[in-house]
């Protein structure tokens, strides 16, 4: 389910980068101008339709694009479309469903309805909370780390690779490690605090709704920071030192250097990295599933985990699909914001930034 919703986003992102037929050489009336080399001889016979398909530059572009397009269709567009279709049926695992219109969505309801699905809306709230808090924390910490790593440190390369470790560890493994760290009986944190005499009982990390949310956000931030830090670091290194020199000559202090030189140059990278971060956080599944399975009493259920529980475990594919599809509008909004809000295209292209 998680994959389905995220794939939907990927299709959207991909649409911008779709290969287009090569138009750098606008075709003249001469066919040789518009064909790719090796046409046998300079004879005057006009190429037939089939020849055109083989050698015409515009078609050539199409052929190169085709495998990628087919893969996208098969593995991204089709599952998304199928999920959309399923959400309008009462399909169960292993059985075709009948068309039931928007009943699945009606069942989820709207938050101000008396008979709305509380668990679903709780999961929407959890997902938004989780995404917003974790993304902001990841951004702030990631940017701070990137700035720090950009300084001249001893063992720079080593430190930079160490920072990447949390990102490299498979999510399920780190989730299981955190599950032990936050265990209600065997938590290392509780244990240490108790042995230091600061506490006389175990902290109920995953058994109390707000503690459980905090623990999950902490684990997510721990895992997500390296990606952001390293990407922003790459961005920082593209900033030409001469810009700082110029700014310093103009009397800019460190903060002004950051605010008026570094930050504007970084914004396109921030836009990309935050889009990814928000998407991945919004569709997170493994961490939550491995650590709490949505508990205690559904207070950490994300839309992705609830969708899995209803669709796969309880077998109601239709309802699960409806929950997964409900993630798409949120994802679209998130992408729009970062794409149009942060990425200042005009400025990037050297135009006026207004």
């Amino acid at each position: 389910m998680r994959g389905r919703a995220f794939r939907g986003a990927a299709v959207f992102v991909g649409a911008g980068g779709e290969p287009r037929p090569d138009r750098r050489r606008p075709g003249t009336s001469e066919m040789t101008e518009n064909t790719a080399g090796r046409l046998a001889g300079a004879d005057l016979h006009r190429p037939g339709f089939y020849d055109r398909l083989k050698i015409n530059r515009n078609w050539l572009g199409f052929w190169f694009m085709l495998p990628a397009a087919l893969i996208l269709m098969l593995f991204l567009a089709y599952p998304l479309g199928k999920g959309f279709w399923l959400s309008f049926t009462d399909a169960k695992i292993g059985r075709e469903g009948a068309w039931i219109g928007i009943e699945n969505y009606e069942w989820l309801g709207l938050p101000w309805w008396d008979d709305a699905d509380n668990v679903f809306w709780l999961s929407v709230f959890n997902t938004l909370l989780y995404t917003v808090v974790a993304s902001i924390l990841k951004f702030v910490i990631g940017l701070y780390l990137a700035l720090l790593l950009n300084e001249n440190l001893p063992f720079k390369a080593l430190i930079r690779s160490i920072v990447l470790i949390p990102f490299v560890v498979p999510t399920v493994l780190s989730a299981i490690a955190f599950w032990w760290i936050f265990d209600s009986q065997f938590s290392i944190i509780s244990w240490s605090l108790r042995h230091l005499g600061l506490l006389d009982h175990n902290i109920n990390f995953l058994g109390d709704p707000n503690n459980a949310r905090m623990s999950l956000i902490f684990a997510n931030v721990w895992r997500g920071v390296p990606f952001i830090a390293i990407t922003l670091l790459a961005g920082l290194q593209t900033v030409s030192p001469s810009l700082y020199e110029a700014a310093t000559l103009d009397g800019a202090n460190r903060w002004q250097n950051f605010r008026y030189v570094t930050f504007p140059i970084l914004t396109p990278i921030i836009a990309v990295v935050m889009t990814f971060s928000v998407l991945l956080t919004f569709t997170d599944f493994q961490l939550v599933w491995a650590m709490t399975r949505g508990g205690p009493v559904n207070s950490t259920h994300l839309m992705a985990t609830l969708s899995y529980q209803r669709a796969i475990l309880a077998g109601n594919l239709g309802e699960g699909a409806a929950i997964a599809i409900s993630m798409v509008p949120f994802l679209l909004v998130a992408i729009m914001i970062s794409w149009f809000g942060l990425q200042r295209r005009k400025w990037q292209q050297g135009g006026q930034d207004d």
């Binding site: 292993g94 995953l206 205690p296 077998g315």
Partner: protein, 435 residues
């Protein structure tokens, strides 16, 4: 999965010359001569089963498979799947008409597609007559509209696990047999700082087990015999009230527990009473934690206001698909498996994890060899089918998978909802499921 099949197949074939359970083989040959179920010539059958808990059980099962192959010439491919994956695979097989000949699944699996299951009434009648009859829960789950659509092979019992010393220190001889006394015991345990605890998280086995006992023993059921949702009842309110009093005596953190949490806490000496299969005891013995193994015992679920045992134990029914090209060989295999000469050693190898659905196996030595196993003997007799007092259907299984009742109790116990709100939420979800 397929390489597994091949490997097992090769193993089965290669073992032909090897010595081994010659007694079993002699029996198998004699059995093949006179059994009413004659396999098709040159048959190959495949079986998809749940993944074992205990290695010895699996080894014994494969011995039975080998003996069957040698005596009848029927090749048997066995593949294993984890609990969660069996139902989706079986559903797809039923839908597409291809896949394993037999599926050995959980709870009400055959009721997902009763028309796709071969009628095995002849097998069930033969076994029932020969081995003292089936327990009622096995009949309810095995039959659909009066016909047997699956053979219930075994139950997996879950019972109260407790530390003898802690219970005695609390002033009790053992675990009281009634819900009121049980609450007193848990309160006393809490007072002595030797608390009890039951999973209130999304723990498929443990949480569903005790929650269904809690509700059913108070006369609170999700549906009646016509699949009408009746969870909104005074009995449910009373059960919730009892649950909250019990919850107050629990070790902190049970709302986050999954199926393994209580095992860990019990073995670490932080938990003194919980509900579980025999696995804690088995682990304590296997890991030489003799202090815990000797100081622990098992007890049946207390009887509540309803006045008789109301438990939820996991059943493993084995079904044969109608599309199978070798239904007779499949029937022969199931029958062979359940014959005393095979079933008794298999049950012994399972060391209490599995309980028989046929009354004649009550005197299997596994139940008396170690008196701490004895409670599990009656799992089949004390349980209701997964649907409680309602008909066994896929919907009942879905209600369990979606944790409708676990969430209801957890919502109330942790104070997220009042009685009305908790019941209303469960009722709404159930009505959608059982419309």
């Amino acid at each position: 999965m397929f390489s597994m099949d091949r490997r097992k197949l090769i193993k089965t074939g290669a073992a032909l010359g090897a010595a081994g359970a010659t007694g079993l083989l002699d029996f198998a040959k004699a059995w093949a001569q006179q059994s009413p179920f004659k396999p098709e010539p040159n048959a190959t059958i495949s079986i998809l089963r749940w993944k074992r808990f205990v290695e010895a059980e699996d080894a014994q099962f494969m011995k039975i498979v080998e003996a069957f192959t040698k005596a009848t010439g029927v090749k048997v491919n066995v593949s294993n799947e984890s609990f969660d994956d069996i139902q989706p695979k079986a559903s797809v097989a039923a839908n597409t008409g291809q896949g394993p000949d037999m599926v050995w699944g959980l709870h009400s699996l055959p009721h997902l597609f009763p028309d796709k299951c071969t009628d095995v009434s002849d097998v069930a009648d033969y076994l029932g007559k020969k081995y003292g009859g089936w327990v009622p829960a096995a009949v309810a789950t095995g039959q659909s509209k009066g016909k047997w659509i699956a053979v219930p092979v075994a139950f997996n019992g879950g019972y109260i696990n407790y530390r003898i010393s802690a219970v005695q220190k609390a002033g009790f001889k053992g675990v009281p047999g009634d819900t009121a006394g049980f609450l007193e015991l848990c309160r006393a345990l809490k007072k002595n700082n030797t608390p009890s605890g039951f999973a209130l998280g999304h723990a498929t086995g443990d949480a569903n087990g005790w929650i269904h006992w809690l509700l059913w023993s108070h006369g609170s059921y999700l549906i009646d015999k016509d699949e009408k949702v009746i969870i909104n009842s005074p009995e449910t309110a009373k059960a919730l009230d009892y649950a909250k009093q019990l919850y107050e005596t629990f070790v902190p953190g049970t709302a986050s527990w999954n199926d393994s949490s209580n095992n860990k806490a019990f073995l670490a000496g932080e938990l003194y009473l919980t509900a579980n299969g025999i696995s804690i005891y088995a682990a304590a013995k296997a890991q030489n934690m003799t202090a815990i193994a000797e100081d622990m015992d098992h007890a049946a679920w207390p009887v509540g206001p309803v006045g008789k045992p109301q438990e939820l134990q996991l059943l493993f029914p084995l079904l044969i698909f109608k599309y199978s090209k070798n239904p007779k060989a499949s029937k022969a295999f199931v029958t062979f498996l359940m014959e005393a000469e095979n079933y008794n050693p298999w049950l012994e190898a399972a060391a209490g994890y599995l309980t028989q659905p046929l009354n004649a196996y009550d005197n299997n030595p596994v139940w008396t060899k170690d008196p701490k196993n004895t409670v599990f003997r009656d799992a089949g007799k004390r349980t209701l089918p997964a649907s409680g007092i309602g008909p066994v259907t896929e919907k009942a299984a879905a209600a369990i998978s979606d944790f409708i009742l676990v969430d209801m109790v957890a919502n109330y116990c942790t104070g997220r909802e009042d009685v009305k709100g908790a019941i209303a939420q469960a009722e709404r979800q159930a009505k959608r499921l059982f419309r």
